[in-house]
Amino acid sequence: MDVFINAFGLIFDPYVLLVVILSGAFGLFMGAVPGLSATMATALLVPVTFFMEPVPALASIVTATAMAIFAGDLPGALLRIPGTPASAAYTNEAFAMTRKGQAELVLGTGLLSAVIGGLFGAVVLTFSAPVLAEFAIKFSSFEYFWLASLGLTCAAFVSSESAAKGLISLMIGLLIATVGIDGTTGFPRFTFGSVELLGGINFIPAMIGMFAMAEVFRSVTAIKPPPEVEQRTIGNIFAGLGKVLYRYKFNLLRGSTIGVLVGALPGAGSDIAAWIAYAVSKKFSKDPEKFGTGHVEGIVDAGSSNNAGLGGTWVPALVFGIPGDSITAIVIGVLYVKGMNPGPTVFLEHPELIYAVFVSFFLANILLLPLGLTAIKCAKQMLRVPREILMPVILMFCVVGTFAINNTVFGVGIMLVLGVISYFLEENGFPIAPAILGLVLGGLLEESFMTSMIKADGDLLAFFERPVSAVLGVITILIWLSPQLAKVWRKIRRATPLGGR
């Protein structure tokens, strides 16, 4: 208990609090500008943290990332441009809600579910990091293969159009994910001799192109202007929110749990957590047909899962020095520089510092409420801007954002090309979400399959030899077969009374 009191003392220090508030504002800005992600916010904070004590250094990263992940929802909901990859899963849904005039509801839900999810992640991180890390580290490529397969299955749930078109869209995403050096053999694929393509298609320009550029194209090519966004201002964002959150309280818990677990698996992270939470939400929803048309339920799940995932990613990073995602990969470097070498010993050697980090998670998520509210108030101005002015501005943001990732025009090219492709796909009734999911999971799927095969000398049964892998495999295959099984089941049920006659 003394440790906790010391930790509180370390955090509630005027200098630390100032750092936390400033990095919170910085994080909101980074998250809200498309193309600038939570990872980049962390990378930019690192040189600044060199000159800080360990606690403010880590608290600044914790706060900036928590804010950035929420702020990614803002351009997603208002402009259909996900601010960070973690918002991609429900960008369509959120934008559809804004179109229906429910901008307050979607932003308020996003904010509160982010706060609740973030606090849940903080609780899990504080009280069960060592146990959870022990579990997460046992995952080998066999288990990851099944996880990636399960993730791809989400494509079936996130596409509201026909299943065949969803599948084609998924395949396009997977195809794009194969560009670049093949991780297993080191052989370049689909690079056409281009050095830039050797590095593969970066996910962020692709995502911005597929969502935002396609939207810009649609807007300029529309012969008859689409119905104006009915909503021009944002009123009280808390109106009716209590009812929504109370109704979906179970979703909050489920989304947060998925977020922490997926986050704790090294290499998965908040982006994938949001996809899975959204798909699970639709699968178990009482009204799945409303998904994709501007239904708040999925946003509760996914909005809480990506913020909960942030806490999860720190679990393997602190306990074993293995990054849960690209943010914690940077954090591990900072931990070493600050002399808090990750490992079980850090809990014994510097318990007050570690607990101060945990306290900063709580603080950051509580602070998200007022800061997030302010950000929403600023962002709502966007709804007042006429479309003729808004679209060129969005285009500019797309270009600047994609340039920023690697400081190269090549990223802008990727965005434009994929924007055109996804415009034509959507015009012909192909959903875009599965293609993006394919892009997110393609690398993990291929890599885990190929390395598993090398380990098992090509024996496919190896996917069922390890206990966790076997369980995951059986679940995945049952889900794949479930439509057929349901058909057979219905036939049997119909057949039995007939036989009884």
């Binding site: 690192v46 080191g186 590095g199 390395t451």
Partner: protein, 334 residues
């Protein structure tokens, strides 16, 4: 083309930091007038992703050079393509000292596999600032507690009993394993290489029971070694490491003469003028000698070594030759 026009713009990252200035996180100033080098922002290209060791080295140098040279220094990650993308960006930049980068040991490898034509000869070398030997690690539940036992088992057991990992196919630690096995007279094909996205995922996979040993540097396994999950058997350098004084070198452990080191070298495109060198090289040396750099490197467990332009170039040349021989012998070349 895009690469060439790159360094002429102010890096966007810096503009972002400038925005951060509004919230008081950083202060940036631009001075566009023509004057002695450096009179405008310098870009450091890191050919690997944010968060890795090379990124950290690039960022701390960026910081120290910024204070020393009094111009903004931006660090840009150009990762992907096994390092080809970033290294190509360094050598195709304008050789004016405003775009430099961190060249890593992969320069001595990627042209042998046919991924690129670029070699060490395409760089102007300023200084080598780090060197780390490869290692040999097993999980603590492995039945083999010494490099000798492990080697004997590899020799004795049938092909493909053992799997190793540590980096991607044909990457530096793959070469480290191949060179070791060759030096012990073992067929490299006896131990299949399981490619990974780097050392951390490989070590995690070893702890999860996916592979039998990992040949990345011991510094990279530090947290798991301290957690009692990983056992270091040897380091593949010339002498024992200050971090692990009890872990023998490979020579002490099995008598092998094989050594493998990774290095990080600050370099620019070929043809950087002498007056720029006269400013940059001493500035890098001062940064290397700073307390911040030493504290950072000791903290991460990275090895410190300084080699000036000439010696660093010779090291690149020497590595290139010896790696070429091993890669051909191990069948890693295309």
């Amino acid at each position: 083309m895009s690469v060439k026009s790159n360094q002429k713009r102010r890096s966007l990252t810096k503009i972002l930091v400038a925005s951060a200035m509004m919230v008081g996180l950083a202060v940036v100033s631009f001075s566009p007038a023509q004057a002695a080098y450096p009179d405008r922002p310098i870009t450091i290209i890191v050919p690997w992703g944010a968060g890795g060791g090379t990124d950290a080295v690039g960022r701390i140098f960026g910081n120290l050079l910024e204070q020393d040279l009094k111009v903004p220094v931006n660090v840009v990650n150009r990762d992907g393509g096994s390092g080809v993308v970033g290294h190509s960006a360094i050598i195709t930049a304008e050789p004016d000292g405003y775009t430099i980068g961190i060249a890593t040991v992969e320069v001595a490898m990627m042209h042998w596999v046919g991924l690129t034509k670029l070699t060490y000869a395409d760089f102007t070398v300023f200084a080598q600032v780090n060197q780390d030997p490869g290692g040999l690690m097993v999980g603590t539940d492995s039945p083999y507690k010494s490099a000798k036992d492990l080697l004997a088992a590899i020799k004795e057991k049938p092909e493909k009993t053992f799997k190793a990992s540590g980096t991607g196919q044909g990457g530096i630690w793959h070469l480290g394993m191949a060179g070791w096995l060759l030096s012990e007279g073992v067929d490299v094909a006896k131990v299949p290489w399981v490619p990974s996205k780097g050392s951390a995922p490989a070590l995690k996979d070893m702890v999860a029971g996916g592979v039998d040993f990992v040949t990345s540097s011991l510094a990279e396994g530090r947290a798991l070694i301290e957690a009692g999950k990983v056992l270091p058997l040897a380091n593949m350098g010339d002498e024992r490491l200050p971090l692990y004084p009890d872990v023998p070198t490979l020579k002490e452990a099995t008598g092998s003469n094989w050594t493998v080191n990774v290095w990080r070298t600050i370099a620019g495109p070929k043809g950087v003028p002498q007056e720029v060198m006269d400013v940059l090289v001493p500035a890098i040396k001062r940064a290397y000698e700073s307390d911040e750099y030493k504290k950072f490197m000791d903290g991460r467990g990275f090895g410190m070594i300084y080699r000036g332009p000439k010696e660093a170039y010779e090291t690149m040349e020497k590595t290139d030759k010896s790696f070429g021989e091993v890669m051909k012998a191990a069948g890693l070349t295309n």
